[in-house]
C-alpha cells in the first residue's frame, strides 16, 4: 500500500479541478421529456416532408436539439430524422434551403453533419450526401460555422 501512493492522480482531488459539467450549460429539460419532444418532432418532420416543405422540416428538427449525456436515444432519433431530410433533398435545392435557416440552425446542422461523418456505417448515412451538404453549408455560413462546431461543448 505504501508503494502505491505515486500512482494516485492527486489532481482530481484538488478543489479547483474543472468538471465536464462546468464547461457548458446543462440542458434543463428532463431526459424523458427530451425523448418525447424528439418523437413529436419526428412526426412533424414526416408531415412536412410529405408536403415537400424541406426548410420547414429542417427548422423543426434543428430547433433545440437534444445535447449532453443521458439523452442518447433522443439524439439517435433526431439524427435519423435529419438524415432522411438530407437524403430526400435535391442537390439543387440545398443552397436555397440552407440560406433560409437561422444562424443557430446552421451551426446545429454543421454539428450533425460532422456527427454523421464520424459514424460512416450507421443507418443510412451516405458520405457523398453529407459532403455535398457540408460544401454548400460552408459556402453560405462560412468558416465561422466550423469554428463554432469545434468550440461548442454542447455535443449534439
Amino acid at each position: 500500500m505504501d508503494t502505491a501512493f505515486r500512482k494516485i492522480d492527486i489532481d482530481q482531488y484538488d478543489e479547483d479541478v474543472l468538471h465536464d459539467s462546468e464547461l457548458y450549460e446543462i440542458d434543463p429539460r428532463d431526459p424523458s421529456q427530451v425523448l418525447e419532444e424528439a418523437k413529436q418532432r419526428q412526426a412533424a418532420v414526416r408531415t412536412s416532408l410529405s408536403r415537400n416543405d424541406i426548410s420547414g422540416a429542417l427548422s423543426t428538427i434543428l430547433d433545440n436539439p437534444p445535447y449532453g449525456p443521458n439523452v442518447e436515444q433522443a439524439k439517435d432519433i433526431t439524427l435519423q430524422t435529419l438524415l432522411t431530410i438530407l437524403n430526400t433533398t435535391k442537390s439543387t435545392e440545398i443552397s436555397a434551403v440552407t440560406r433560409s435557416l437561422s444562424q443557430d440552425a446552421q451551426d446545429t446542422l454543421m454539428k450533425y453533419l460532422y456527427k454523421g461523418m464520424a459514424m460512416p456505417g450507421w443507418g443510412d448515412i451516405s458520405g457523398s450526401v453529407l459532403l455535398g451538404w457540408h460544401e454548400k453549408l460552408t459556402e453560405i455560413a462560412g468558416t465561422g460555422c466550423i469554428v463554432r462546431t469545434m468550440t461548442d461543448r454542447r455535443l449534439v
Binding site: 474543472l18 465536464d20 464547461l23 460532422y114 461523418m117 464520424a118 460512416p120 456505417g121 458520405g127 457523398s128 459532403l131 455535398g132 457540408h134 460544401e135 460552408t138 468558416t143 465561422g144 466550423i146 469554428v147 462546431t149 469545434m150 468550440t151 461548442d152 461543448r153 455535443l155
Partner: protein
C-alpha cells in the same frame, strides 16, 4: 464514388483552415513550459471537439484541435493485402524522415495511417494557407493515386503507379524464385 473526391478535399480544406486558429498557450501544469496541448491532453478546457471528415468507411480524416496545436490523422483506403503493404512502407518512409517535414508526426494515431502535428509556432513561421495546401495536395492527392482505385472504376481505369508497382513486385519475385530454384535443378 470518385465524384466525392472534390467535396471531400474541400471539406478537409475548410475544416483545416478553421482549426488552424492557434495561439501561444503556456502549460497550465508545469510553469515555464510550453507544450502542444493536443498531445499532453491535460485539462479539458483547452481541448476542442474532434471532428471527422469521411468519404466512406475506409477513408477518413480526423482533426483534433486545441488552443495551441492540432493533430490531423488520415486513414487511407487499402483494398487488398499488397496495397496495405505498399501503404505501410510508404508512410513509414515518410515518418522516418519526419524532421524534414516539420509538421509530420513520427507515429500515426491508432486507427489511422499517418498523422500531422501543427503547433502555433508552425502557424506563426509558415503561411497557414500554404500549410493547408501542402497537406491537401501532397498527401491526399498523392495517397489518392497510391491507394487509388475508386471502386466503380476498378476494372477499367487501374491506376498506373500502383499497378506498375504491383507488376514490378511480382516480376521481381518471379525472377528471384526462378534463379533460386535453378540451384536445386541438378
Amino acid at each position: 464514388m470518385s465524384n466525392t473526391l472534390k467535396p471531400y478535399l474541400a471539406a478537409v480544406r475548410s475544416t483545416l483552415t478553421a482549426a488552424l486558429t492557434l495561439e501561444n498557450f503556456s502549460s497550465q501544469v508545469v510553469e515555464r513550459h510550453n507544450k502542444p496541448e493536443v498531445e499532453t491532453g491535460g485539462s479539458k478546457e483547452v481541448l476542442l471537439n474532434p471532428l471527422t471528415i469521411s468519404r466512406n468507411e475506409n477513408e477518413r480524416v480526423l482533426i483534433e484541435p486545441s488552443v495551441n496545436s492540432i493533430r490531423l490523422s488520415i486513414r487511407i483506403k487499402q483494398s487488398d493485402e499488397i496495397e496495405r503493404i505498399l501503404c505501410h512502407k510508404f508512410t513509414r518512409f515518410m515518418m522516418q524522415r519526419a524532421e524534414s517535414f516539420i509538421v509530420l508526426r513520427r507515429k500515426p494515431v491508432p486507427g489511422h495511417d499517418i498523422s500531422f502535428l501543427i503547433t502555433n509556432t508552425h502557424s506563426e513561421t509558415m503561411l497557414k494557407h500554404k500549410i493547408v495546401d501542402f497537406i491537401i495536395e501532397f498527401v491526399l492527392f498523392h495517397f489518392r493515386r497510391l491507394a487509388a482505385n475508386s471502386c466503380d472504376r476498378f476494372m477499367e481505369e487501374v491506376d498506373k503507379e500502383i499497378s506498375a508497382m504491383k507488376l514490378n513486385l511480382n516480376w521481381r519475385a518471379r525472377t528471384v524464385a526462378e534463379s533460386y530454384l535453378l540451384a536445386f535443378n541438378t
